[in-house]
């Protein structure tokens, strides 16, 4: 509904909704004259009150960024054009034309306006996807004072999704200059049994949030909010047999992987591929760190490990291009000698190359090889997860496995890191980064078993070290890639109208690599201090607390 209104939901069983509304209207009639608003929508100069039939479609990113921030974005279709309405923590609305409820929108595709201003930064680089559409009919009544003056409007909205009715929404729309009366009406509504939520104790009028209605609409189509997360969300306990726990972790990763395939194939936004790659990397790390606990044959173990490596490699070219393109503007801004325009051919080259690589990636993800990998991996994990626990003997538990493998990974990081000196080659830092990733994954896989505070402390220390190592290696990789791309651009001179690549472009690319080299040196300079924090007395204590306090 229109933001800035006091909003309520009718609760309880569908059979009582009409009774609840009748009771509410009777209570209001005790304080005001309640008359139908036959004049249609009218609301003073402050904004329109919605009346009549409307269609609402909610939008959010695949990882529910708006919902998690307490925001709800609806597109409300009107006769001509429609409105984007944001409710929740902050509210805004914006008229849009040509908006479609069947397509996705990237932040940069949103038409300028107050809603776009509030959500663009939050969703970038993800796309807004249509979640669910409901139809609703709103009836408007006027609440009159003793002079017959309209002091507020009462809106009763009855939403339906398909054949199913959803709980009615009730709202009070304030008429300017009559806030006290609107609050009075809101208090009366709040006191009606079967209506919630109420205004706060001070009688403040709360905006009508779309949250509860969205939850109901999602339930009606068999979904729930936040049904996707980038976190490893396996249902494991410390006492469960280790093979079952590892299978549960890997099944959760497989779910995450498969959930992203469609978005990658449609190329909806770059983060589908990013998340898919994270799921693959985690899977590969889990097979390496914990795979022996699954009890797979050596042949199966090696085959799956090899197949997931293939999958990871398949996704690398597109992601590398995405990284360049996502950071392109920021890189271009850092140019000092060259002009931003010099990089236009480079960008065009990257985009053109990406189109080709996406096609190859899609072919891979539609291949029989990929389908078989998903099917066989799920079957193998399902078999282990469903296996009954061994009788007798001392079977390893998930808790024991977590302590053993996490401790081992930590010791490896500490040992390798301590051996690095200012003269060590870059490869030693790259190798340490891999060990840090393994430790990070081990921590994340078993997160439900750890004490939350101890877990956060260890992750905090590790993350700072990883950021530094990541910057060091990524800049190096980017430098090498830009050099390779420059060579490829020269080879593909035909792409520039048969002429050679402009000298300015190559110079600008050279300047980019110089900037990246500076960033790499900066990352190298802080490595020792970051590592000292992670592996020093405090870091050791944090890890000891984590492993000692296993639930």
């Amino acid at each position: 509904m229109t933001p800035g209104l006091a909003g309520f939901m009718v609760t309880g069983d569908e059979a009582v909704w009409d009774d609840v509304l009748d009771e509410m209207l009777a209570a209001l009639a005790g304080a005001f004259e309640v008359v139908p608003d036959r004049g249609g929508p009218a609301s003073g100069a402050q904004g329109k009150v919605p009346a009549g039939p409307r269609r609402h479609t909610w939008f959010d990113t695949f990882d529910w960024r708006l919902y998690r921030a307490g925001l709800f974005l609806e597109y409300v279709a009107a006769h001509r054009g429609g409105d984007l309405v944001l409710t929740g923590g902050s509210s805004a609305s914006q008229q849009v034309t040509g908006w479609r409820t069947t397509r996705t929108y990237l932040a940069e595709e949103l038409p300028d306006g107050p809603v776009a201003n509030q959500v663009a930064g939050l969703i970038y680089p993800r796309a807004l996807l249509p979640l669910v559409t409901i139809a609703s009919r709103t009836t408007v009544s006027r609440l009159l004072n003793a002079d017959g003056k309209t002091i507020a409007r009462l809106l009763i909205e009855r939403p339906v999704i398909g054949e199913a009715a959803l709980p009615p929404r009730v709202a009070i729309a304030e008429v300017r200059g009559y806030l006290g009366q609107a609050r009075r009406a809101a208090r009366i509504i709040a006191l009606t049994p079967g209506v919630e939520p109420a205004p706060d104790a001070a009688g403040a009028v709360q905006p009508a949030s779309a949250g509860p209605l969205l939850d109901d609409a999602l339930a009606a189509i068999g979904r729930r909010a936040c049904d996707y997360s980038t976190k490893v969300d396996a249902k494991i306990t410390a006492g469960m047999p280790a093979p079952k726990a590892v299978a549960a972790i890997l099944l959760a990763l497989l779910d995450a992987l498969e959930a992203n395939v469609d978005g990658v194939l449609r190329d909806t936004d770059t983060e589908f591929l990013h998340d898919l790659r994270v799921a693959v990397r985690r899977t590969r790390a889990a097979i390496k760190l914990l795979g022996d606990a699954l009890g797979l044959s050596d042949a199966d173990h090696d085959r799956f490990a090899a197949e997931f490596k293939w999958l990871g490699d398949l996704t690398t070219p597109v992601r590398d291009l995405d990284v360049h393109l996502l950071g392109f503007d920021a890189m271009a801004r850092q140019l000092r000698a060259a002009k931003g325009d010099d990089l236009v051919p480079f960008r065009a080259f990257l985009e053109e190359r990406r189109v080709r690589e996406v096609r190859l990636l899609a072919r891979g993800l539609r291949s029989q090889r990929f389908g078989e990998l998903m099917r066989q991996w799920r079957a193998a994990l399902g078999k282990i997860a469903g296996r009954s626990a061994k009788r007798g003997g001392q079977a390893l538990t998930a808790g024991e496995l977590a302590v053993g493998r996490t401790g081992k990974a930590f010791r490896k990081v500490s040992r390798n890191g301590a051996a690095i000196t200012p003269d060590s080659p870059p490869e030693s830092l790259h190798d340490l980064r891999k060990r840090c990733k393994e430790l990070r994954y081990a921590l994340e896989f078993f997160a439900p078993l750890h004490d939350k505070a101890a877990y956060s402390a260890v992750i905090g220390d590790l993350k700072k070290l990883q950021d530094c190592l990541g910057d060091f290696q990524d800049t190096e990789v980017q430098i090498e890639e830009i050099r390779a791309l420059a060579a490829a651009m020269l080879d593909a001179g035909a792409a520039f109208g048969g002429s050679t690549v402009p000298a300015g472009t190559l110079l600008a690319m050279g300047e980019l690599t110089a900037g990246l080299a500076e960033s790499q040196q900066a990352a190298r300079a802080v490595f020792e201090s970051r590592f000292a924090v992670f592996a020093g007395p405090d870091g050791q204590r944090h890890m000891a607390m984590l492993l000692g306090g296993n639930k």
């Binding site: 004049g39 929508p41 009218a42 609301s43 003073g44 100069a45 402050q46 329109k48 006027r142 002079d147 017959g148 003056k149 309209t150 008429v175 300017r176 200059g177 009559y178």
Partner: protein
């Protein structure tokens, strides 16, 4: 934001009914509109069922202690708000009569300026008489709409007003007079309307007839176009509003 004022030195010529109906029609055209009822009698406020009272009194607004924005009330109509009258407006002359003379004349202008962000059209319903209030209104307005009863004397009043405005330095409002309360059965009315409409610039082609429906406004407490949209008077006000809109910006 464009500021319209209905003004005549004489009372009872149809200033308030004109302000109420034109403001309603401006809002119906989609203009974000506010009507300021400057007459302490509060007839325009009454028409919109709003109590003729401003929190803190008119003095707080004129002195700038309270913003005009805080006094605004929503009417029952889309796009149309009202700043109600207050009985203390009877002393507005005394409140305006402070500070250097040049500034006294432009106090209302300054008070209205912030409304430009929120509104497209402001209507000022001015009390009768020549006073500091009416001078302020004439300086603030872009268009002065002058209701005239078809008599020889009222034509003289229009001349005096036009001369007075011609003496303004800088900003001068457009003046559009129209014949109000016209009784077609009276020969004198017919003659004056026909002669002046044809002969004189600044007189609207559309007269507003004397009609019971206008008197009913105070019973219905709403603009004619809202409760009798197909009446002759409603149509006449629409034609008059169209003429007002035609005036150069």
């Amino acid at each position: 934001m464009k500021i319209y004022a209905t003004y005549n030195i004489k009372g009872g010529v149809g200033k308030t009914t004109t302000a109420v109906n034109l403001a309603y029609l401006a809002a119906a055209d989609g203009l974000r509109t506010v009507l300021w009822d400057l007459d302490p009698q509060g007839a325009a406020s009454f028409m919109f069922r709003v109590k003729p009272r401003v929190k803190g009194g008119g003095e707080a607004i004129i002195r700038g202690q309270r913003s005009l924005d805080g006094a605004i009330k929503g009417t029952d109509y889309d796009n149309l708000d009202l700043i109600p009258a207050d009985f203390t407006y009877r002393n507005m002359d005394l409140l305006l009569d402070k500070g250097p003379e040049a500034k006294q004349m432009r106090k209302l202008s300054r008070l209205l300026a912030p409304l430009g962000e929120e509104y497209d059209a402001v209507f000022l319903d001015c009390p009768p008489s020549i006073s500091l209030v009416s001078e302020n209104v004439l300086h603030a307005a872009d268009v002065i709409v002058v209701p005239l009863i078809p008599t020889t004397l009222s034509v003289r009043t229009l001349d005096q007003l036009t001369e007075f405005i011609a003496g303004f330095r800088g900003h001068r409002p457009e003046v559009l007079a129209f014949f109000s309360m016209v009784d077609r059965r009276k020969k004198l009315h017919r003659e004056i309307v026909e002669e002046l409409s044809a002969k004189r610039d600044g007189v609207a082609r559309t007269p507003i007839p004397a009609a019971a429906v206008i008197e009913n406004m105070s019973v219905e407490r709403s603009p004619v176009a809202a409760f009798a949209p197909s009446s002759t008077v409603a149509k006449a006000y629409k034609a008059l509003w169209a003429e007002v809109c035609e005036l150069p910006a």
